[in-house]
C-alpha cells in the first residue's frame, strides 16, 4: 500500500482528487472564485490528461474524483468524460446547470446509472436573490434542468453558496430541492470564500489553507491544496496554495501535499464547513 493510500485510509489525507477541466463559463457570478466568464483564458485539461489523473489517483489510493471549472459542460464531451472518470473512481461533477437542454441534456443521459453525481449550484428559493448573484434566468434554467436530469436517472446534488449559509439554507430552499427530486443529504451549503471575484467585491469569509480541506486539485497550471486554491484575481492565477507545477505523475504533488499535512500542527483543522 502506498503512503498516500495509508494516509487516505487513516483520514489524514482527503480521498478526493479534483480537476479543473476548464476556467471559462457561460455565466459570470458575482462571487466566482475563478473570475470565470465566457471570454476568459480557458486553461483546459484534455480528456486524456483527466483520465490519466484518474488512473494515477486510483493507483495511489485516492478514493474519489471531482471535476469543476469554469463550467465543465462547455466542453462538448464532458458527459462522456465524466462517465469514463466514474468508471475509475466515484466522481462528482460541478456544474451551473444552465446548459442542460437539447443535445447536452440527451448526452447527460450517459451518466444515468454510473458512479457520477452532478452537483448543481442553486443559491436561493427566491429567483431574484439567486439571479442577483448568478445572472438573469439562472433560477428558471436550473429548476428546469434538475428534474429533467433526475427523470433521466442522473444523480443530482445541489450546492448553495451564500454570505450567510444558515439563512440561505432556510426552509423554502430545502422544500424546493425536495420538490425538484433532490434529498436533504444531497444538498450542500457553504459560505462565500473571500478569493477571486468575491475578494475584489469585498465578499465572503477569509480563509487560509487550514480552513480548506486538503483535497489535491489538478489544473492546467499545476496542482493545488484544495479546489479553492487555484483562484484568479485580476486575471492572475493565485499561487499561495500552489503545491507543484508538476501534475504528472500525480505522486509528485500528492507527496508534497502529504508532507505538508504531516508537518502541520495538531488541531489545525478548520470549522468553517467549506466543501
Amino acid at each position: 500500500m502506498t503512503a498516500i493510500a495509508e494516509a487516505v485510509r487513516a483520514g489524514e489525507l482527503p480521498g478526493r482528487v479534483w480537476m479543473y477541466s476548464n476556467y471559462h463559463c457561460n455565466l459570470a457570478c458575482s462571487y466566482c472564485l475563478t473570475e470565470s466568464a465566457p471570454k476568459v483564458s480557458k486553461r483546459e485539461l484534455t480528456s486524456e490528461a483527466m483520465i490519466g489523473v484518474a488512473h494515477d489517483a486510483a493507483d495511489l489510493g485516492f478514493t474519489a474524483l471531482g471535476v469543476t471549472g469554469g463550467e465543465p459542460f462547455l466542453l462538448p464531451d464532458m458527459a462522456h468524460r465524466l462517465a469514463e472518470l466514474g468508471s475509475i473512481l466515484p466522481t462528482v461533477g460541478l456544474t451551473n446547470g444552465t446548459l442542460f437542454t437539447g443535445r447536452r441534456l440527451d448526452a447527460a443521459e450517459e451518466l444515468a446509472g454510473t458512479d457520477v453525481a452532478l452537483q448543481i449550484s442553486l443559491d436561493s428559493a427566491d429567483p431574484d436573490v439567486n439571479d442577483a448573484a448568478r445572472g438573469p434566468e439562472n433560477f428558471a434554467k436550473v429548476v428546469a434542468a434538475i428534474p429533467a436530469l433526475v427523470e433521466r436517472g442522473v444523480t443530482v446534488r445541489i450546492a448553495t453558496t451564500g454570505q450567510d449559509p444558515d439563512a440561505v439554507a432556510a426552509a423554502r430552499l430545502c422544500a424546493l430541492h425536495r420538490d425538484l427530486g433532490v434529498p436533504d443529504e444531497d444538498h450542500v451549503v457553504r459560505p462565500i470564500i473571500n478569493r477571486g471575484r468575491a475578494a475584489e467585491a469585498g465578499m465572503g469569509v477569509d480563509v487560509t489553507e487550514s480552513d480548506l480541506p486538503a483535497e489535491l486539485t489538478v489544473t492546467a497550471d499545476g496542482a493545488f491544496w484544495s479546489p479553492f486554491g487555484p483562484t484568479v484575481v485580476a486575471g492572475q492565477l493565485d499561487t499561495d496554495l500552489l503545491l507543484t507545477r508538476t501534475t504528472v505523475p500525480l505522486r509528485v504533488p500528492a507527496q508534497t501535499l502529504l508532507g505538508l499535512l504531516q508537518g502541520r500542527p495538531a488541531g489545525a483543522d478548520s470549522t468553517l464547513n467549506i466543501r
Partner: protein
C-alpha cells in the same frame, strides 16, 4: 570606468516575482524573514524546483573547503565574463564584504581579461576565462597552470562553482532580474557604478 557598469541594466523582470502573500505553501519559509531577493521570488513560481535549487546553490556558493575570497573571485569574474549585470552587482557587494578591495572588484568585473598579482589567483582567472568565456575543450596549458596551485578536489569545486554561477548568470540575465536598491546604493558609495 567599470566596463560592466556600461552593460544594459535590466528594467523589468520578465516573469512574476512572488512575494510573501503569493508564495506557494512550500516556498513560504523563504519569505519569512523578509524579501528573499529576485532569484527566490522568481523560482517560487515553480516550488518543486525552488526546493531543490536553493539547497544546491547554497551549498555550492556559501562557505566550504574553499576560502570565501577565492569563491567570490570565481563568482564575480564568471559573472563578468557572462556579462550578468545582476550577479556582478550582487556579488561585488559580497566580495567587498569578504575583504576584496574596490580595485580588485573593479578588475574582476571588467569584461576584458583580468589579472591579479598572486600566481595562484592569476591561474584561477585564466581557468575561469577558459571555462566561462569559451565553448569546447579547455587548453591543457591552462589546466596545468591551475593544477600547479590547487588540489584535485579543489579544482572540482572551483569548476562546479563556475558552472553554477553560469547557470545563475543566464537565469538572471534572461529573466531581467533587477538589482536591489540597497546593492545599487552600496556600489555607488564605493564608486563601482
Amino acid at each position: 570606468m567599470n566596463t560592466a557598469g556600461a552593460l544594459v541594466t535590466a528594467a523589468t523582470p520578465r516573469v512574476p516575482l512572488l512575494d510573501a502573500a503569493s508564495a506557494p505553501l512550500t516556498a513560504r519559509r523563504y519569505f519569512s524573514d523578509g524579501d528573499p531577493g529576485p532569484i527566490v521570488a522568481a523560482l517560487a513560481s515553480v516550488p518543486e524546483l525552488l526546493e531543490v535549487t536553493l539547497p544546491f546553490l547554497s551549498t555550492v556558493l556559501s562557505a566550504s573547503a574553499l576560502d570565501a575570497r577565492t569563491k567570490e573571485i570565481v563568482i564575480v569574474r564568471t559573472s563578468a565574463v557572462q556579462e550578468c549585470r545582476y550577479c556582478i552587482d550582487a556579488h561585488s557587494v559580497v566580495a567587498l564584504d569578504t575583504g576584496l578591495t574596490v580595485a580588485e572588484v573593479r578588475t574582476l568585473s571588467e569584461r576584458s581579461p583580468a589579472s591579479l598579482p598572486d600566481e595562484r589567483e592569476a591561474a584561477l582567472l585564466a581557468w575561469i576565462d577558459a571555462v566561462a568565456g569559451a565553448t569546447g575543450p579547455v587548453q591543457d596549458s591552462v589546466a596545468a597552470r591551475l593544477g600547479a596551485s590547487y588540489r584535485d578536489y579543489e579544482i572540482v569545486e572551483l569548476t562546479l562553482l563556475i558552472g553554477a554561477t553560469m547557470m545563475l548568470n543566464r537565469f538572471c540575465t534572461a529573466l531581467s532580474l533587477p538589482t536591489s536598491t540597497e546593492v545599487t546604493m552600496r556600489l555607488t558609495e564605493e564608486g563601482l557604478v
